[in-house]
């Protein structure tokens, strides 16, 4: 079977866990993370896998075991006023198979909290502090969750959608 990513007959957009798992059955991430995925998306040649927030460490360890050895990036998207409000996007790269996947977890707005993945990748440290600072998402098990960009006495979380871009708060 040809590589689904370079194969032109692979559709450009597939939505839903089962449809993606069928179309990209040979993808290393699908094979490695299959039991943890709750939703999947194959859009513009990028794979997005949604996992339950409580399984995030297990998902990261599964991704690491599947060959995705490089943690690139973590950030959040605030879908206010939709619930679950916060989407935490982790971008994971495999240096050996030269592929990138995105692992996503959605958190609700009342006490947004997710496990820290610094035990899997120490490089997540600054990224989690940044999300905490700018979105107010808590990371359980983070060694020192403090503000990184804004001053320590700052009130509010600037990248939330209910925080105005200009004018008064």
């Amino acid at each position: 079977m040809p590589d689904p990513i370079t194969n032109p007959s692979t559709p450009t957009a597939i939505f839903g866990k089962d449809a993606v798992a069928e179309a990209l059955a040979d993808h290393a991430a699908i094979r490695g993370l299959a039991p943890l995925i709750t939703d999947a998306k194959w859009d513009r040649k990028e794979l997005t896998l949604t996992v339950d927030p409580s399984n995030i460490i297990a998902a990261m360890q599964a991704a690491q075991a599947a060959g995705y050895n490089f943690f690139e990036d973590a950030t959040a998207v605030d879908w206010y006023p939709t619930e679950p409000r916060f989407q935490i996007s982790y971008s994971i790269l495999s240096i050996s198979i030269k592929q990138r996947i995105r692992i996503v977890a959605r958190l609700s707005s009342d006490s947004p909290r997710i496990d820290s993945i610094t035990s899997v990748w120490p490089s997540a440290n600054f990224y989690e502090r940044e999300i905490f600072d700018l979105f107010g998402v808590q990371f359980s098990g983070h060694p020192r969750l403090t503000r990184i960009m804004m001053p320590d006495n700052w009130e509010g979380h600037p990248l939330r959608k209910d925080y105005p871009v200009e004018g008064y708060r």
């Binding site: 990028e46 440290n125 001053p151």
Partner: protein, 444 residues
Amino acid sequence: MAFVEELEAPGVAKKKDTTGATLAGFRPAEDLIIPDVKDVVESSTGHHHPHGSDPVSDNTMVLNMGPQHPSTHGVLRLVLEVDGETVISCAPDIGYLHTGIEKTCEAKFYAQVTPMTDRIDYLCPMTNNTAYALAVEKLLELEIPERAQYLRVLFNELTRIQSHLVWLGTHAMDIGALTVFLYCFREREDILRIFEAVSGQRMMTSYVRIGGIALEPPLDIYKRIREFLRIFPSKIEEYEGLLNANPIWMGRLKGVGYLSPENAIALGVTGPPLRASGIDFDVRRDMPYSGYEKFKFNVPVSTVGDVWARYIVRMQEMRESVKICLQALDGMPEGRIVAYAPKIILPDREQMKTQMESLIHHFKIVTEGFQVPTGEVTSSVEAPHGMMNYYVVSDGTAKPYRVHMRNPDFATLQALETMCKGQLIADVVAVIGSIDIVLGAIDR
């Protein structure tokens, strides 16, 4: 793959694996996590023994370095715990340049974000523009003409040379070699004049736009670039002549700031520091974008992993960039510089003044922007400092719902303590120079 000069640091085992594949299951130690300022201060008070009980260990000291220290390359503040002159722990304090660019992007049209990307990593504006343009083009599913791709490659590589020249000059100046700085800025000035000729700006170029590039380059520009590329290799030799056999330079760089390949991956290090640690990964070659697959170049890799190796890797990279620029000039195709998408790309002035439809398009794009289909994409480019990603989320409107930049400097800074632990304060300066940080990119 090309291994540059193998200079084995004493006591460092040679790593055979260059892809990092076998490092996948590596479990990093807890102490790789870089501390916060409070951690450093608290641990230092913990090291104090009751007065007089142990005079030797009684003297750890917390030292504040920056944010105005010239060797921190901007406004990086470091809090160091030192025992005599030996660094015990080190915490960076960042955020002094935080301007909330990511938030500002959410209030602008897609095209208006481009000038802001210049100001993030202000030493490589063309690379920032390219990364952002690639992300939005992916959302729009726009095909970019080959000529625009070649021009992007050409100016990306000139930007790499320019950024490496600033790195070399300031790095050498930190170590005490003041002359190199003047020579590097002399050549950098040539590149900035080329940038000014094509875009009208020396530094904040905004030349690479969504859908292509901003302007047709002037007629004599290829000749000027060729002239620069003809003399530049001899200038690299000139810098190396000043530094390579310099005993102070060698003494300050060799064996300093060692970073193992496992730790480099665990700490998210990319770009020249990653390749200097023996991981053979370059986004341009391994996940090509903007037509890089058509170019032939070597990726310099070293297995030594110290500050000297990063110096050697970057010097080789400048030579490779010259090769890529020449290939881009030789193979420069004819054709348009922007994609054909009249509702997304501004028409040229003449069309706008003579054709009603172009005038309407111009008016609509300027006043309302253009709508981008829903989705989320990541673009990735090899910036001079490492891997730069743009994560753009669209909700179907004319303004981006979220723009996030993954800048290499932000991640590389997390490796600072691992590289500095147990070394002298003077070595911290050498290590900061070797990871080549720009605080605008870190704080955003």
